[in-house]
């Protein structure tokens, strides 16, 4: 049987998904003065997947993100991206390797304008000298324009980021990630402090990212999780407790046991 070009692509894609867990965390651990915030964490995320990380306060979610992005140095285990061991690299080197991060508290260049924020996020070239030779044009590069449209920040381009609303600041940071265009995006509670409407818009933006990027997102809002999610990983006491679809997780005995008395993850 002959396969058409389209079918071939499909086959390739299926093969790729089956064969490649391009982001792998192996037995990762870190201890702060004897307390193991992350304790033997294992995680595999496939290319283009959107994975939600759930867990109670103190389960180690943010610490895991810190370990992956190089902010905290691990005391054991490995982080692999495309088979490359990037454990405990410096932050900017990990970023160059293809991992972008959005923090829980909006983290943008507050004294600079929205336009400048986007321009700095355009970081295909990171060296000092290559950037000395680069002027700043009047028109925005295409990838920046795309991010501006997606985040609907076109009207506030020349305002200082410090005076944006909370939601706008969050979108600006997500938009900057879009411009940065990393292979893996880490999102730490992207809807924290948002109104229902803002949350919905954020869910839309994130769904648009799906497929083009691998995304690992920490989120508590179950409505939001249902809206965006394929698979969930539940963290408990610094470890991977359970993994599966929303349904599987909601019915998981292990998860119920860990959250005993709180009525399941819906109320976590």
């Amino acid at each position: 049987m002959m396969l058409s070009g389209h079918d071939l692509k499909l086959v390739e894609r299926v093969n790729m998904i089956q064969s490649s867990a391009n982001f792998v965390v192996e037995n990762l651990e870190v201890s702060f003065n004897g307390f193991k915030a992350v304790d033997g964490m294992n995680l595999k995320i496939y290319d283009g997947e959107l994975r939600v990380l759930l867990g109670a306060n103190g389960a180690g979610k943010t610490t895991l993100m810190d370990l992956i992005s190089g902010r905290t140095k691990s005391t054991g285990g490995k982080v692999l991206l495309n088979g490359k061991n990037i454990t405990n690299w410096e932050e900017h080197l990990i970023a160059r390797e293809g991992i972008g991060r959005k923090f829980q508290i909006p983290n943008v260049f507050r004294e600079l304008t929205v336009r400048q924020n986007f321009l700095i996020a355009d970081c295909r070239q990171t060296g000092v000298f290559s950037n000395v030779l680069k002027g700043i044009g009047r028109t925005l590069p295409e990838n920046v324009q795309y991010a501006v449209e997606l985040t609907e920040l076109g009207d506030v381009l020349d305002r200082e980021a410090a005076i944006l609303s909370h939601g706008q600041t969050q979108w600006l940071e997500i938009g900057m990630l879009l411009v940065q265009n990393p292979q893996l995006i880490l999102l730490d509670e992207p809807t924290a402090g948002m109104t229902a409407q803002e949350t919905q818009k954020t869910a839309e933006i994130i769904t648009r990212l799906k497929g083009q990027h691998t995304i690992l997102v920490v989120e508590h809002d179950m409505g939001f999780v249902r809206a965006i999610c394929e698979r969930i990983t539940v963290m408990h006491q610094g470890r991977n407790l359970a993994e599966g679809t929303v349904k599987e997780i909601e019915n998981s005995e292990a998860v119920k046991a860990a959250y005993l008395g709180s009525g399941g993850i819906g109320h976590a």
Partner: protein, 365 residues
């Protein structure tokens, strides 16, 4: 309507025109004074780059200025010294410090005087005045960046290094002239043009240098690298997670700032004909920061004008008989007022004023 950009371009043009027209209205005495003020203006620019743009409060600018000053002073001193029986000129203070039977050669007359030998070429002195501050600053910034030292600690460390340098200068009297510094120098020979501090040509050379530095740095901060640097000043972590090496950018701009300070030191010696360990005093480095704060640290031109203005006002006040004892107090009050009410200095005030005026015009018509 005046956009901020237009205002800025106009201010640069007005300032540069001003410093080049000045010689038409001034006698040699005031012109030589103003040449010094322009040099201080260059110091202000250097501070603005490292403090305002890179966010590194450097209290060691006096050290880079001092290294530049001493480098050229070595050369100019030799140009103004006679031979003492040997084949090379020997500075007078070395003869005073020499052992009775020391050979009258520059390389051997006192311990460590070999360091002076290459300075017989004044272009070597000039080059060292820029190179040594640059390399030294690079080293300091690299080490501080590696260990992620920031904020007030950078200020303390740079300040201590400066004082250490001062100690060394005073201690190694036989090669540096010690407390007395270096005086009685020859002139710098710029391709046949002797830079006598009381000649108009010298003023013009300094004005050209300042113009080149101002426009060059203005261009530099307008590049993408300049924008990234400001991002780093604002939020180092965000910059890191975008893949930028924070220390690489800070080292680069710190080095540029130090080279400019070194050049200022070189020019200062050319126009004032002395080099002294007071360049490495705490007061001088702090004074430079005050100039930049008054002028507006986030504006290169503002910091430059701040330096020139404060020096001019200081000189005028100190020569007014009734203010003989109070002029420093007045300068202090000006500084306090600006820090309290004008966080962006005079440059910020100018921008706000123009914005307000043009805004009013806009609503009136």
């Amino acid at each position: 309507m005046f956009s901020d950009k237009k205002l800025e371009a106009l201010s640069y043009i007005a300032f540069i025109a001003f410093i080049f027209i000045l010689p038409l209205f001034m006698d040699e005495f005031w012109l030589s004074r103003f040449a010094k003020y322009l040099v201080f203006g260059m110091c202000g620019v250097a501070i603005s780059l490292s403090w305002g743009y890179a966010g590194i409060l450097n209290l060691g600018q006096g050290m880079f200025f001092g290294i530049g000053a001493y480098s050229i002073a070595f050369s100019l001193k030799l140009a103004g010294s006679d031979k003492a029986g040997g084949s090379t000129p020997i500075p007078d203070f070395m003869l005073l410090n020499a052992e009775p039977n020391a050979p009258p050669e520059l390389g051997q007359i006192v311990t460590g005087s070999w360091i002076w030998v290459p300075f017989q070429s004044q272009w070597f002195g000039f080059a060292m005045g820029l190179l040594v501050p640059g390399v030294f600053a690079g080293l300091v910034a690299y080490i501080l960046g590696r260990s992620r030292v920031s904020g007030v600690y950078v200020a303390i460390i740079t300040l201590s290094l400066t004082l250490l340098g001062r100690l060394l200068l005073v201690d190694q009297q036989q090669v540096t002239g010690g407390f007395n510094g270096i005086t009685n120098m020859g002139y710098f020979d710029l391709f046949g043009l002797e830079l006598d501090p009381y000649f108009k040509n010298t003023y013009y050379v300094i004005a050209i240098c300042l113009t080149v530095v101002l426009l060059g740095l203005r261009w530099l901060v307008s590049t993408k690298a300049g924008l990234i640097l400001q991002g780093i000043r604002d939020n180092q972590n965000r910059a890191r997670y975008l893949g930028y090496s924070v220390s690489a950018y800070q080292v680069f701009f710190f080095v540029i700032s130090a080279i400019v300070a070194g050049l200022a030191g070189v020019l200062y010696v050319i126009v004032s004909e002395f080099a002294s360990p007071t360049f490495l005093d705490i007061t001088f480095s702090v004074t430079m920061v005050v100039w930049a704060a008054v002028g507006g640290r986030t504006s290169l031109l503002g910091a430059c004008i701040g330096a020139i203005l404060l020096n001019y006002v200081g000189a005028t006040l100190s020569e007014t008989e009734s203010l003989l004892y109070a002029w420093q107090l007045l300068i202090g009050v000006i500084f306090l007022a600006i820090v309290l009410w004008l966080p962006n200095g005079l440059a910020g005030l100018a921008t706000d004023l123009v914005r307000k005026l043009s805004g009013r015009k806009g609503t009136a018509t």
